[in-house]
């Protein structure tokens, strides 16, 4: 379970999170929508401790992320995160990309790591690209590789930060299909996305962020069908 309690965060004079309260249960798929600068991406990087917070607290399975005593490297093994920019390690093959952290962080043997990497890469449909370097892959393939790389760490949670935003339109579908598959397998996910159709389809709940505030949160039928917040109504009108 991820519990976010009254989290505030500023970048200089700009307050990007103005007291966020949110709980995500195991197995839940939460999508976060909102305009740019609404704080939704920042929230994700706060959850795995890449960004410090100013006040409030975030608990992952009861462990406080920003506590001094928390071993962040250990905690991050539970939390997979995939960014908008796919961040393939360019000097490693696809297979090595997915193996690296398994060997270094989880101390798996090379054989174990390779078996798991092959399994995950097959899972996302890259089983025929194992020995290829990332520069030879399309954006969509690199993004799927990044998802496999995160999944190979056997995380309990997946955070997905606008993973289709940097892709050409024709490549968005293959990545969304991968996420749909994950959702159907019961992975706990927080997806920040601009894909409304996708959000409507896979989410248990959808949260709308506006200017650092979580303005509305509801099951998709309700949030898209009968939005209450006036900003959300404007936002949905603009994106449809």
């Amino acid at each position: 379970m991820i519990e976010i309690e009254n989290v505030r965060k500023s970048f200089g004079p700009l307050e990007v999170l103005k007291g966020i309260n949110l709980t995500v249960a195991k197995g839940e798929v939460l999508t976060v929508i909102g305009g740019s600068g609404s704080g939704k991406s920042t929230l994700l990087t706060c959850i795995n401790g890449l960004e410090p917070i100013d006040s409030g607290r975030i608990l992952v399975d009861g462990i406080e992320v920003h506590a001094r005593t928390t071993d962040l490297n250990k905690l991050r093994q539970k939390i997979g995160i995939v960014f908008q920019q796919w961040n393939a390690f360019p000097h490693l093959t696809v297979l090595e990309n997915v193996m690296l952290a398994q060997v270094k962080v989880l101390k798996r043997s090379k054989a174990e790591a390779e078996a798991e990497a092959v399994r995950q890469l097959n899972h996302v449909g890259l089983g025929d690209k194992l020995k290829v370097y990332p520069s030879k892959l399309s954006g969509g393939q690199q993004q799927r590789m990044a998802i496999a790389r995160a999944l190979a760490m056997s995380p309990d949670y997946m955070l997905l930060d606008e993973v289709t935003s940097a892709l050409d339109p024709q490549l968005v579908g293959e990545v969304l299909d991968t996420l749909r598959m994950l959702a159907s397998e019961g992975m706990t996910m927080i997806c920040v996305t601009h894909e409304m159709k996708f959000a409507r389809e896979v989410s248990d709940r959808v949260a709308f962020f506006h200017k650092g505030v979580m303005a509305e949160i509801a099951p998709p039928e309700e949030l898209f069908g009968a939005p209450k917040d006036p900003e959300l109504q404007k936002f949905l009108a603009a994106t449809h």
Partner: protein, 217 residues
Amino acid sequence: MFDTALTTNDLIFLAKGAGMTLIVTAISVFFGTILGIIFGVIRYQIGPWWAAPLTFVLDIFRSIPLLIQLVLANAFVTTVLGFRVSGFAVACGVLSLYTAAYCAEIVRGGIEAVPQTLRRAARSLGMTWGQDMTSIVLPLATRVALPSWIGLALGVMKDSALVYIVQVVELLKSTQILITRLQEPLFLLMICGLFYFLISFPIARFGSYLEKRWSND
């Protein structure tokens, strides 16, 4: 048509000088690179403000002519401190620091060329700072820094000619000795140049070989 007083023994004498050039260069580049990596990582890690004293010292080594550094260091170590050290040791010490000063900049530039987003991705997979440094930053920064580093190594090899000032008989000094005796400056300088080329060429080729090998990604 062509007549020279150069004997086989003289050639061996020159080869010994070349050997000395190679040894001084190898030692200096080796220790200079290790120090340069350490200084470069420190500079990058603590930021320009805190690194200012270190940067200042390195700038001194980069801006004062090597010849002056060698003379002053030699005088300081032997006369002021009173140590009985060979010119060879002084030469290696000064050239190592000189190399380190340049190498630190190359290393810092190489690290800066690794995108922050990649390092974030590595850390978000649970990798520690050290693991990120060794598995991601080092290999990628090396690819960026290699051409400059090869240039530095070749430069140091040629600059090492200046260590004659602390009584180290390397390739150029050997040549000068022969010139004084044989009075055939152009011919001897050609042979000297050939020796320098024979040492440099493999290093340069090795650099391009590595660049080619790494170009798959």
